[in-house]
Symmetry: C2
Subunit: 450 residues, 2 copies
Amino acid sequence: MYLLAGDPAELAETVAAVRDADVAEALNALPPQAAARVLAALPFDQAVQVLDEPELEQEEEIFACLDDRTAGALIEAMSADQRADLFRELPPQDRARLIRTLEPQTAEALEVLLKYPRHSAGGIMTTELTQVPEGWTVEQALRHVAEVGRARETVYAIYVHREDGRLVNVVSLRELMVADRHALVSRVGDLRRPVTVAPLTDREEVARVISKYNLLAVPVVDERGVPVGIVTVDDVIDAIVAEQTEDVQKFGGMEALDEPYTQIGFAKMIRKRAGWLCALFVSEMLTATAMQHFQGELERATLLAMFIPLVMSSGGNSGSQATSLIIRSLALREIRLRDWWRVALRELPTGITLGAILGVIGVVRILLWQRLGLFDYGPHHALVALTIGCALVGIVGFGSLAGSMLPFLLKRLGFDPASASAPFVATLVDVTGLVIYFSVAYVILRGTLL
Amino acid sequence: MYLLAGDPAELAETVAAVRDADVAEALNALPPQAAARVLAALPFDQAVQVLDEPELEQEEEIFACLDDRTAGALIEAMSADQRADLFRELPPQDRARLIRTLEPQTAEALEVLLKYPRHSAGGIMTTELTQVPEGWTVEQALRHVAEVGRARETVYAIYVHREDGRLVNVVSLRELMVADRHALVSRVGDLRRPVTVAPLTDREEVARVISKYNLLAVPVVDERGVPVGIVTVDDVIDAIVAEQTEDVQKFGGMEALDEPYTQIGFAKMIRKRAGWLCALFVSEMLTATAMQHFQGELERATLLAMFIPLVMSSGGNSGSQATSLIIRSLALREIRLRDWWRVALRELPTGITLGAILGVIGVVRILLWQRLGLFDYGPHHALVALTIGCALVGIVGFGSLAGSMLPFLLKRLGFDPASASAPFVATLVDVTGLVIYFSVAYVILRGTLL
């Protein structure tokens, strides 16, 4: 709030010594009007760089507070990918107003970028790439880089194209610098077919490609093989972090928020959470139905009811472990859809072993409480303990199996395996767990308690 | 398995046209002996590059199969960070054997890197950085880059140092290329204090710094301000992906595996999963204790037992949502520890609203089943429905609150907030949920069912 006290010019001077990302964060803490005033008072180049920071949160509100001339000049100078991001966020009336302030070719390039889905390579790429024709020498290319480098951050990969625009190869600036100055750029560096992605490639896949081949940028080429843009490594980091947030939120049993927790409105938050919560609630109603079937058993032995939460939750917990393991392994491509049976053959013994460990703890607990006189489980306490132990082996084993198979099933059906949330698995296992529990009880306790 | 048929030289020829990361993946599919044979038959430079790929999984097994001369030469040529990674994985006897094959100064540099914890900046940095003294001109620096660029990938940031070794500023290769050739390097580019990290900075923090300031590399400086290495953006992506895997596994209610799912042994898998599972099981035993207290109520109204899984799981589900939201918001620094009360003031009404939605569904379900004659909930079915509805408001409200506060509590106590797993929250909410449920039932049903 200190920043609000002085006059804009003075603020701007203070701010000039600070890094752009830090300025962006400081602006996030201000109301949009104040942030717009500070931004307008900054040196033009720095204002543009602050706007290019993905950290800046209320970009669209800030632009709503700027006059058309300032806004137009700033937008014109922004990098193409950040400009497209801004327009994606703008409300329709601001979008129409601001697009009129742009140069025709900027507006045209913007329209192209806006056509791509947000989470695709086209949606996160920038159109500012450094291209040279294949007939150029290293010397010419280096001179070109020195010229365009003033304006562009993206000069570390130089894309060599044919006459018809198609990509021939990619030379890194490092390779260019160590090469013979008179060699042709098309004969320098890595001459294997360049790694490329298509405009509609999902950003997760783009991230995987960049990370796997340790690239600083990957060219996005159209169906003819002509580069239309590049996705740089810093865009990819932002994409990876955003995907990670989505995955954690989905695994927590809700829709991804797509907005920071601190920014989202109450009604939207309820919508994002209520859907899954209701679906899980309705599915979980099957437990009530299952319990109705066992009403007779429950009335004869209320003792059995006491252990229901304990045995059921253990199944859900082991299922949640298995699901988290498989979701990540699938995401990292350590395992593929066809490996499902390998995983099943692994999870079943794992689950049974884990169930046996819990079973032993459960049996010891019941016998110990009985022996110490802490609670009276009645004359058949040994059989009750055996029921709990055996039920745990079955339920935890089933939980691990079901939890590990769910992501495969979702993937097979064309859904995101990351939708297999911990609550989803727990619900799935709860209903079956009840049936296993009462079946085991029926076999062991028939003739005594039941 | 086709690869195994031919002779190594022929294989190597085929493999030379393929990208290093793809070769690494192909080697992952081979038994270590065969992988070692293929590697030894590759051109030396390509073998080194394949070994530098973080994708290569069984590096330590491959080195166990190589003779000392080949192994020593390869390790000598590897990049410093990958070399340190390899030695971290090697069994002690191989480590001692292979370290003797190295040049004294390589061994010394290796020892330094091995001292840093795996997840710190020092543990993921490489010591190959491009440094120039502050008295040099742009021309001299460019000539230096062209010389060292042949061997080093990391020439895009040039570190300008004082006579005493301390870092003065960082110039990007782009800035160097567009600058006046006769200017001093210390007067070029960004003259603000360079962004640096310490050797013991956590890799998550390093990733945040690189991502926030859009750097290609961040220098790691010791307490005197002398650079000891750099962490590059591709190392950071690998670190982010690894952290993500850890976080998902922890959120699933287990210890992080630290190994691919397909690689880990059965006993180790059980160890990683049994700990949390047992801890949760023992805590969940409190539900049995709580149920013992309500034994009288249960015997009078077994009807109540039927809805226990339903109402309890809803609390756990809403808690799991809240936890996943807060874990990510804390990780992304959207909220800080001191914001806990803001979150509490937000989650409580959210949870109560969500509980009310579920409550309405629950009440409708009971009344509908009764009306349609699908199940007879007895003469007091309206009161039973009211109990379920009110209990859901309380339990889901409490679940959201508890789920959102748990990560704060863990962070306050010095633990990783990401340890607040879905099963952990569910267990926490289960016990309290039971108490809320029976208390609501006692108030509403006293004099009728209870």
